[in-house]
């Protein structure tokens, strides 16, 4: 045999001496740059003997590529733990192999294959493992499914915009050429999702069927009759009949089986008159999955929360970004400013928004990408908005204008209409940032204290710390986006907490305070208050106080 690939001598020696490898039958692939050596394994009983001829695959060109065992195609989806290429996954964490030399790796792989995999497979102890990663195997199945009968469409994925329910659902939806199928009964979310994706769309009818358990690959329905049998079992004969034989004839159909651990799509093209069924991949895209991935602490979802965010400046835009990405259902954004070049360096918006209203631009851009959040832009002054709005319909008002007049009009309004309020602002150079949380309290004056003054970490900033735009009276505070993100982070965190936690009978002020090392390096200095003095080696701290 002529070998054009150079096999390292230690590998060759090791393989040749292994009783489990048939060295003389080795092969190489120049294109893939791998060496492949057949494995001689203990005999398997009939019915179990479907591994083909397993081979040990050893990459030769790159040291960081790991060797593996490959089974014949016949074993795919019949033996668990192999992918669509037949690669067998023998370890929970393959990266651990990187600690070892090549021959040690080969020895560990082969040992695991012969001593653990083979007996476990022969004994039938792996069969149920298909249930552990049903989604992986469904992806393999869809990938390998013969497509010849299928009208070739680039995007055959179903996006499921609602969670698995207890009952089956029949409804009309759309197939978007640029994305895939959109499945949801929640009209608002679906409408916003649809308007976010620019695409040609086709009507389709969807049947979402909750099933009891994930499928073993051997139980994937492969014919229309089997598909119907499962629908009948889960949704009843009548619903099944209505879906398959009711509705318009020229509309594609999509069946989605929703098990607790995996969703399975079957696409029935309109033109095939129900003769063809195509398995497709489903992706969960309901808000609870998007924003919490069903983590327990996030079970209290923000989908129904309604916030008014006053101020779409640098701080406001970053907070909006975080809140929308946290799954808040509705945000009213109030701002009367126009986006200017000077804003670009620290705002969420960029050049495409120049000369346009910040509130409108933000709602378009963020709303388009996060359609679960309905962002309502209000391009007007706070005063005019307050005049015509019942603020008690909100779960929370967030004021990030930093303006005294806004604080005052809000306080006046909150006397008559109760709603929790969060006010956030930053000190020069973001040497400190503060978030004040008011539940029942209205006034900034508590026990003879002016909270606005108490909140600050520094006093006595020189008059000229604000910068002026050249040749213009407009002035601005000097800070950069990296520092801004800290302020936006603690503010957004408090907003989310305020939505889920019970009201407090005090005003809480949370402050982000930088240490001496940072503040002394800024152009201007101010006097640090006692409560804000940090130990020498502490660069920043979050300090919470109650009033």
């Amino acid at each position: 045999m002529t070998e054009r690939l150079k096999i390292p001598s230690d590998v060759a020696e090791w393989c040749d001496s292994s009783p489990w490898l048939v060295w003389e039958d080795r092969g190489t692939s120049l294109e893939k740059s791998v060496l492949s050596v057949p494995i001689r394994h203990p005999e398997l009983s009939r019915g179990r003997d479907i591994l083909g001829r397993p081979r040990l695959i050893i990459p030769l060109s790159h040291r960081h590529e790991r060797p593996y065992v490959k089974l014949d195609d016949i074993a795919i989806l019949k033996v668990p733990h192999i992918d669509e290429q037949g690669k067998l996954c023998l370890f929970k964490d393959e990266e651990e192999l990187d600690y070892f030399s090549r021959t040690e790796q080969l020895s560990k792989i082969l040992k695991r294959f012969i001593d653990i995999f083979i007996p476990a497979w022969e004994g039938g102890h792996l069969d149920q493992h298909f249930y552990d990663e049903p989604e992986n195997y469904w992806h393999v199945y869809v990938q390998l499914y013969p497509v010849k009968k299928m009208r070739k469409r680039a995007n055959l994925t179903a996006y499921l915009l609602s969670r698995r329910g207890k009952k089956s659902l029949r409804y009309d939806s759309y197939y978007l050429e640029n994305l895939g199928f959109l499945c949801s009964t929640q009209t608002n979310f679906k409408t916003r999702f649809l308007s976010s994706i620019k695409s040609t769309r086709y009507k389709c009818s969807v049947f979402e069927v909750p099933i009891f358990s994930a499928f073993l690959p051997s139980d994937y329905p492969t014919s229309l009759d089997q598909l119907k049998a499962i629908c009948r079992a889960a949704a009843g004969a009548k619903e099944t009949q209505r879906f398959f034989h009711g509705g318009k004839p020229n509309v594609a159909k999509l069946v989605v089986f929703r098990s607790p651990t995996c969703d399975y799509g079957y696409y029935l093209p309109a033109e095939s008159k129900l003769k063809v069924i195509n398995p497709i991949v489903c992706e969960r895209a309901d808000p609870d999955w998007l924003f919490g991935r069903y983590q327990e602490f996030n079970l209290k979802s923000y989908e129904k929360s309604k916030i008014a965010l006053i101020g779409a400046g640098s701080l406001g835009s970053h907070i909006l970004h975080i809140l929308a990405h946290s799954g808040i259902g509705e945000i009213h954004l109030i701002d009367s400013d126009i986006f200017m070049p000077a804003n670009i360096g620290r705002h969420m918006l960029g050049v495409t928004s120049l000369g346009k209203a910040k509130a409108i631009q933000l709602s378009t851009l963020i709303g388009r990408d996060i359609p679960s959040c309905e962002i309502i832009p209000l391009y007007e002054s706070v005063q005019s908005w307050l005049k015509r709005t019942d603020i008690s319909k909100f779960d929370l008002i967030v004021d990030v204008t930093g303006e005294r007049t806004v604080r005052e009009v809000l306080a006046a309004k909150r006397i008559v209409q109760h709603v929790p309020l969060i006010t956030a602002w930053m000190e020069p150079y973001i040497t400190a940032a503060h978030v004040a949380i008011f539940h029942d309290q209205i006034s900034w004056h508590v026990d003879g204290l002016n909270l606005w003054h108490e909140a600050h970490a520094f006093t006595g900033w020189p008059e000229d710390y604000l910068l002026s735009e050249p040749g213009c009276s407009s002035r601005f505070s000097p800070y950069t986006t990296d520092q801004l993100s800290f302020a936006a982070g603690i503010t957004a965190e408090e907003c989310l907490l305020a939505l889920t936690h019970s009201p407090m009978n005090y005003v809480k002020i949370k402050s982000w305070v930088r240490g001496e090392e940072y503040s002394k390096n800024q152009k201007h200095a101010a006097e640090r208050r006692d409560w804000a003095i940090l130990p020498k080696n502490i660069d920043a701290a979050i300090i919470t106080r109650q009033f």
Partner: protein, 423 residues
């Protein structure tokens, strides 16, 4: 509503006649030619072992009974002798089987029989809540169900559904809050009253009588197979022993084997999504129809060549034993004929009824596949497939459950800090 008495011998006869006409001799000859009953019976018992719940798990549940009884004695101040907790349902009739989802708990039905005036003098709700209240604040979770309290210990593989009951002689039939089903005279001595919480009524019930009935029907079933080596009957399953009876059954317990295999078949079809988990046929219906079927078969003098043939005929016959009074399906409780086990079949778009007939079709097809299989290997493969026992063949040298491939790579340094999912 009174339920018509069903003539099961008549129904069985007509099913048998039809079978002969429609299937004819062709199919039977195929079956007979390849039947090797002596080979199939052990395989089916092997399946039966596989689906059984381990002895030690049942042991643990048994100890739990004692604890529950002691708690009730301490909290309710009723004498120990007046409180009896014993298993009922599948746990007491040797038809308890393991769920195909290995991580799912199994339930042991228990009846808590109280024989003390204080218990029931204030009516059904007070009695039901007294028992529930006594179980509160213990080291287990308690959940109220329709007729029982579900007691669940954290980390245990089982839960106990404890049904409070009082002896039948203690409540008068003439009270206005009772729902009485006339008890079959053979089994009436064990009848009790239980509480139906949603309607706050006393319901007559007879779990022990039902067990005795199953036991008697199992005796019937031992005469249905032509066997050269029919040995003396093993009556171990009939022991009145409480705690939970041994779930092992002998080679002649044809009815018990059928009940367990059919229930397993149903569970596997649910797991494969071919039957609805909400509307699947309930165990008591499967058990009753099978019991009535073997009784009628014995009465009609039937004999079968093998267990596979018996199972196949049972699967074909039980759907025909559902009696219809007009459009109303009727499956009477054999120990209290006024009670219709199929009383919910017309609710929910008939999904329970559809599901029952769908299941018997699937079962018939599967057993037919088994009957016509021609060699040991394919027979074993079919049995493993239809009863979901792929991991059955060899005694497990790798521990069941868990993923043997998920252990760490030997010699790899341990990771004390996370290094995945960090960004």
């Amino acid at each position: 509503m009174s339920v018509t008495k069903v003539n099961y011998r008549e129904l069985e006869k007509s099913a048998n006649d039809k079978k002969l006409i429609t299937e004819g001799a062709v199919y039977d000859s195929i079956s007979l030619e390849h039947f090797q009953p002596e080979k199939v019976l052990p395989l089916l018992h092997h399946v039966n072992d596989f689906i059984s719940i381990k002895e030690d798990e049942i042991e643990a549940a048994t100890v739990a009974y004692e604890d529950l009884a002691n708690i009730l004695v301490n909290k309710l101040n009723w004498p120990r002798d007046n409180i009896k907790i014993h298993p009922q349902g599948s746990a007491s009739s040797s038809t308890l089987i393991r769920s195909p989802n290995s991580n799912e708990r199994f339930d042991i039905d228990a009846i808590c029989e109280i024989d003390h005036l204080d218990a029931y003098k204030d009516g059904p709700s007070a009695f039901f809540n007294k028992i529930g209240g006594a179980l509160d604040d213990e080291d287990f979770d308690v959940e109220m169900k329709k007729r029982c309290w579900r007691v669940q210990w954290r980390g245990e593989g089982y839960y106990i559904d404890l049904t409070p009951a009082v002896k039948s002689s203690n409540i008068s039939l003439h009270e206005n809050n009772v729902r009485y089903f006339a008890q079959d005279e053979h089994y009436s001595e064990d009848a009790v009253w239980v509480v139906n919480e949603p309607t706050k009524q006393w319901y007559s019930s007879n779990p022990r009588g039902f067990n005795k009935w199953i036991s008697d029907r199992n005796f019937d079933s031992q005469f249905l197979i032509l066997s050269p080596a029919l040995e003396s009957l093993d009556a171990a399953y009939r022991a009145e022993a409480e705690p939970v009876p041994d779930q092992e059954i002998s080679m002649q317990d044809n009815l018990l084997l059928a009940i367990r295999l059919f229930k397993r078949h149903r569970d596997i079809k649910v797991q494969r999504n071919l039957l609805s988990s909400d509307f699947k046929p309930i165990s008591v219906i499967i058990t009753t129809l099978l019991g009535q079927c073997v009784n009628a078969m014995r009465g009609n003098g039937r004999l079968y060549g093998s267990i596979v043939e018996l199972l196949e005929v049972l699967a074909g016959t039980i759907p025909k034993l559902v009696y219809f009074d007009g459009n109303t399906p009727i499956i009477p409780n054999p120990t209290a004929e006024g009670e219709n086990f199929a009383d919910r079949w017309l609710e929910d778009d008939h999904q329970r009824m559809d599901s029952f007939f769908e299941w018997t079709e699937l079962l018939k097809d599967d057993l037919k596949r088994l009957a016509v299989s021609q060699d040991d290997i394919s027979r074993l493969e079919i049995i493993k497939d239809i009863f979901g026992c792929s991991g059955m063949t060899n005694p497990p040298d790798v521990p069941r459950g868990g993923n043997p491939l998920a252990t760490a790579i030997p010699g790899a340094p341990s990771r004390s800090v996370p290094d995945k999912g960090l960004a």
